[in-house]
Symmetry: C2
């Protein structure tokens, strides 16, 4: 049988046998824990102590949660165990103490962004942090240590100097929303078990469609597990609109269908093409100008070419905010071609969709109201915690028609409420995580105006960076002109490369600069920024700003750090 079949549990302590011991010993004395505590700023108790309120706290042990000795408590002593309420509350407050310490330090610039270790180091178990799972339970004391260690060896994506991904920052309201979501622990598929969340999703999607510009906010949509899946939905829905028989008969019922997307677009369109049975060959990449924007004439030429071969151009993806350059494809010109050739227009605004919230910047998505579908990830530019991605569809009924299988055990037509509120049959998922609440709560707390301010501020910061480095010695911009989004793409040239004429050797050496600097950055833990090659361009840095904690001083720091680490390369 299985190698890890559970072993006998004869030696286990009795449930509920020991907890709430007097504070004589406990995890404060453990090395690992002490170590971590000194690193991330001391326990709740220690902090209170330094404020001279510990004496007060000590008078009633029910009040001070660090009084509990977790070394003899186990998961089985928590709710629903008999008498489990008190240890449950103490345990959760201790966890919250760990988390609030982490949050405090995340926003503290004197804290490292990360404490880098190689996989083999973590697997070997650093300072007793043991990742292996075992047959027997560990004490809650050990579980708390594990929580601390997990955070200790992770990456602070909310740190003001974390610029590594399109998603960064730690929004406190969004975080509170996630804590509530996981406490509610329910599923989006029916109104029956998620009444409030289902309605929040409906209202929020309508608001997003209004902002896209569809009359009255009409249409459809769903939150999906990320932009790649949202883009996949767009392709599925487009196929269903034009060739509904594919649902029953498969791709052989349709002619050879062609999808178009730019060479700078996100790879998820190709993934969708592969997964959904189109084939990557039938995902035609379009040429871009030097700024990474699709060239409409190239699209038209390729549409004509496909038609001449007897293929059917089905779908165009216009990117609003490309991953690397932050480029916005000219949606109106693409929409004209889609109308002319009767094709589905999808706008991938996973990254750039957030700019719709800004009166100053939304013109960059001009024409988006002509799209048939839109991907928009609030978890990127709007700072919502991961994951939060919406697929919006202009025509109602297509999502449902495309995906529904009418499972009787979930979507009973004879429920007592209006079952059109059940969302499950629109999705390719069955169970679906509640991604809406944190976003809804942030919108309530910030207002549309708060998102606008956030977006404007991020774009100002990237303009600051662009202005700072465009003529600075040792920098070369990857493309000329002010970036459309917060993406600033540049090469840093160490002094040894400056003045060297363009030649294969220079290119080869320059290609290695960004990875080397990045590796040193991660080793020193001071900041993180992305790099990549693009087309025939060697590795360059891609700076992006979506973190509300970032300021000009952090941008200055990044530049200083690149120069400090890179000057001798």
């Amino acid at each position: 049988m299985a190698a890890s079949a559970p072993s006998s549990s004869a030696a286990e302590p009795e449930p509920n046998s020991a907890y709430l011991r007097p504070p004589t010993s406990g995890f404060l004395q453990k090395n690992n824990s002490l170590d971590e505590k000194s690193r991330i700023g001391g326990s709740f108790k220690e902090r209170q102590s330094s404020k001279n309120v510990l004496s007060c706290e000590n008078r009633d042990p029910r009040f001070g949660h660090t009084e509990t000795d977790f070394s003899n408590l186990f998961a089985r002593d928590l709710l629903p165990a008999k008498n489990g309420e008190e240890p449950t509350m103490q345990f959760l407050l201790e966890v919250v103490d760990i988390l609030t310490n982490y949050i405090r330090k995340t926003f503290d610039r004197s804290t490292k962004v990360l404490d880098f270790h190689h996989p083999h180091q973590l697997l070997e178990g650093i300072e007793g942090f043991n990742l292996e799972l075992s047959d027997q339970p560990e004490s809650l004391e050990q579980i708390l240590v594990d929580c601390r260690d997990t955070l200790k060896y992770g990456v602070r994506t909310g740190h003001p100097r974390f610029f590594n991904q399109l998603s960064s920052g730690l929004d406190i309201i969004g975080l509170a929303g996630e804590w509530l979501t996981s406490t509610a622990n329910t599923n989006m598929f029916t109104y029956e078990i998620a009444p409030v969340f289902v309605l929040m999703e409906q209202l929020t999607l309508k608001k997003m469609r209004e902002i896209v510009g569809w009359p009255g906010g009409e249409g459809d949509g769903i939150f999906s597990p990320g932009g790649a899946i949202s883009n996949m939905y767009s392709v599925m829905v487009a196929r269903y609109k034009y060739y509904p028989e594919v649902k029953t008969k498969g791709m052989s019922a349709a002619p050879r269908l062609i999808l178009f997307t730019s060479e700078h677009s996100h790879y998820s369109i190709k993934k969708a093409g592969a997964a959904l049975g189109f084939g990557v060959e039938n995902v035609i990449l379009l040429k871009c100008d030097e700024r990474g924007r699709v060239i409409p004439a190239d699209l038209e030429a390729k549409i004509i070419d496909a038609k001449q071969k007897g293929y059917v151009p089905l779908f165009v993806n216009a990117t609003a905010g490309s991953t690397v350059y932050g480029a916005f494809d000219p949606i109106n010109e693409i929409a004209d071609l889609c109308e002319k050739y009767n094709m589905w227009l999808h706008v991938d605004g996973a990254w750039g969709g957030g700019l719709l919230m800004s009166r100053k910047h939304r013109h960059k998505l001009s024409g988006i109201e002509r799209a048939n579908s839109v991907t928009w990830n609030p978890h990127k530019m709007m700072g919502v915690p991961l994951q939060c991605s919406a697929i919006l569809v202009r025509e109602k009924g297509l999502l449902q028609g495309c995906n529904q299988m009418c499972a009787g055990y979930l979507f009973q037509p004879d429920k007592q409420y209006d079952v059109t509120y059940d969302t499950g049959d629109k999705a390719i998922q069955c169970g679906r995580h509640v991604d809406i609440f944190k976003f809804w709560l942030m919108w309530k707390a910030k207002g549309t105006s708060g998102f606008e301010q956030h977006i404007n501020k991020c774009l100002e910061l990237s303009e600051y960076l662009y202005t700072k480095i465009k003529n600075r010695e040792g920098y070369e911009m990857v493309f000329q002109g002010e970036p459309q989004h917060t993406n600033v793409c540049f090469w840093y040239l160490p002094p040894s490369l400056r003045g060297m004429p363009d030649c294969p050797e220079r290119r080869e050496r320059l290609h290695k600069v960004a990875p080397k600097i990045k590796a040193m950055m991660m080793e020193s833990g001071t900041t993180m920024v992305g790099y990549q090659p693009q087309g025939d361009k060697v590795n360059f840095f891609r700076m992006v700003v979506s973190n509300p904690a970032a300021t000009k001083s952090d941008i200055d720091f990044l530049i200083e750090e690149i120069e400090r680490l890179g000057q001798d390369l």
Copy 2:
């Protein structure tokens, strides 16, 4: 332009202008909040007060978090705002207070499972709970009220009498894990930004493969957003194994491919067939015996039939724990046929996979070690919070081969660490939520043995229910014999239907009984259990037990409640 373009924010209060006021007024005086507080057990402050420690707490306002007046605080006053640390901590502690109250009440049988309202009632705004989003921010006081209201009008899926879905219960360790996960707020795609989580996923998947029975735990896998997506992966990988050219050329490069799954299986196989371009017509449903288990002879007949038509049988899904009956298909007999006809064997153990953890019950999945892929959702029978679903694949490299697109901006080959740890190119997603940590933490805290105990206990409870009702007046079992899983399927016959001979009128009336009782249950909020028709069988109750909080008394209560509500129908 958009109807909801943000309006001017001239009238906004200054950031950081007012917080930490003396406790003279505030949200405790709001009706809605008071109302909720009395319902869910009082605020933290009130509870402390009843314990006579309030006087102590009041001495230092830094300590008692309810001292803060949130009515003049806004999201913009929280971190990263200047001086934002203190209000951030106070706000988060207040949120935690709301959540711990909710948790306390969730396990309290005197609390309702839900407070049902129709969609239109919630949309109209009950007791001031306004779901609409606005341009201007709301105060943190209002945000806290919104959090309370969201929980108030939701469904307590962790309540000991919530039996409505395969996922139920609220595991405290898992919950703590989710809170930490959302605080870490990172993404699974690279080791670079999720080093600890990536390793936890790798080790946990290996452990799961060992338990499945694959030698040395070898193979591959990934956590995906739910069982439907995991099943979709299995179909994609099977297609890639036999027809890798489909990835580039599309479905037209393959012959007509046939997928087999039972008439009792989850609808996600059909969804996958539709989405991936096979067509639902090419998903052949297999006949089941009276217990809902696939009849292998029917599979072989249908394989032969497909071959005779010139189609290619590609894939068989064997269900381990069907959704309604909890049936386990005979995996070994199906595996024999898959070997004989060179087909991919997938085992959908989304619901039944958990039984692998029990030495007593794992024989029901005998033969699973012969599968090419396995879906296993820890968020169902193992009580892990939503979402947590794994797709396991026996052959290494297929997931990567099938899905990789080698995006340069994420998966740079020239990173300083071993990039084989980057998981993103195995997935159809790009960003991927961290679903592993809560599961890993639960495994640490409970041990393999703890999961075993949980599973054995749930199966004992369902045996108790089965024994109780199988000969009880007014009950008819949907299938005879002891259930294989915790699913107990039965009709309740009100006295008016007892003794009536089987005829269309009886069937028609019986069909309406379960929906009526369920509606009354939801209106009274006492318990929740699922119902559905199946094939030619009219609506019946499907009871399932996965909630660790449930006891025999809750089973008794369910029966009493069905009889109380149904006796006059």
